[in-house]
Amino acid sequence: MSKIEINQLSKKFIKRDKFIDALQDITLSIQQGEFVCLLGPSGCGKTTLLRILANLEKTTTGDVFIQQLDKEKPLQSMVFQENGIIPWLTVEENVAFGLKMRHLPRAYIKERTEFYLSKVGLTNFKRLYPKELSGGMKQRVSIARAFANDPEILLMDEPFAALDEQNKFILQEELLSIWQETKKTVLFITHSIDEALLLSDRILLMSSQPGTIVKDITIEMERPRSIEKVRSDSTMTDIFLDVWEHLQSEVKQARLK
């Protein structure tokens, strides 16, 4: 049985008496421990799909299923794009947020929080408030919070989109290292093909509105990967150009409409 199972999912929004077809007929399954990247033009419904999995949005037809192996664990935790960390909680409190909401024992919360704080290198900053952090540090908090919550699956919505290229890479490395330790199933949204190539086991390519999955690309490059390797590898360059072309044509089509 697969970890995430999505069956014939479609989603319509109502906006000023008009229906918007955000997602159409999505069927996919993701295995335990897979790192899957969702790539697609802007407005194709990536966030909508993630929000449905995160139970922040209802499906119109079809259904989603997340396998729960451990009753104690929450089904999913989300890493939001930006501003997802709560400004009136300190770094420490933000990381502990999910655990606290589940009212776990204090000592356990403390131990987990410390662990993930040190994992993302924020131990020295734990008493600070988010306003004092740089963008990269904020996203570290967000990632630590999601991992500390120890959910069945992790959902990430362009967590690094707002960062500069160098910081982005450092965080990508950190994310991979934590992911490799925990072997969580991750569904990761990105606009950056390089990011997808660097991170994922599988890339799901989406069409523009209404969003459907048009390609399912398996990335077989061995880990650990690095930008240098990705850039120098010719298969990767081919995949890059392939995906790029697809996205460009989707975007240009969308603009003509």
Partner: protein, 251 residues
Amino acid sequence: MQKKVSIPQLITIFSPICLLLLWEFCSQFAILDPRFFPAPTLIIQTLVQMGESGELFTHITVSLTRIIIGFLLGVIPAICIGLLMGMYRYFRHFFSPIIMIFMPIPTIAMLPIILILFGIGEFSKVITIAISVFFPVAINTAAGVANIDKIYLEVAKNYQANAKDFFFKIALPGSLPVMLEGIQMGQAIALLTIVAAEMIGASSGIGYLIWMNYKAFLLPQMYVGLLLISFFGYFFSLSLRGIERKLLPWK
């Protein structure tokens, strides 16, 4: 460096002094009618005299007690109702017309009703203040909750916060900045209302001091009362700003 920093401070200190000197001058040379605008020096003298007799101290403590209790009595329900209004839209739709209806009713016009409902004791004075404090705080609190970025509500939902946690971890702290603006306003209104409040069967207090001395045409004494109100207004404002800084270390 040091000198540069203090120019604004100098101006800040200089401006009221300037005003006082102008007043003193106008009063001394009868450009302003000194019967109605006694010179600041005379007012200070009166203040000292009244202070020495100790009566002033009683008036101050009595009024401050009323202001503080009335303020709290207005602020606490205002925060509760404001939070509920911010969180539940049916609540909001139910309460907002009622608030809209009662808000424009002047305090002086409310006195008889307060008197009927709450008598002439301390409680009625306190409630007068509480009522006038209630509206701005409730409105601001509701606005504060409504202004919390939607993403924090979703974070809370995603991390399975229950109603109580949601309230204490998200709604309350998130609405605090705007709420505190309302409280700052409520504080100003509490002071503005003290004269009206002490028109209900009071026999001490700064408000009583002001209007009794006005009625008896003892204007320097009245100005002492006004001076005290001003002073406390300034003082409360600063204190609240201080509290704000403590409560919102994340701002």
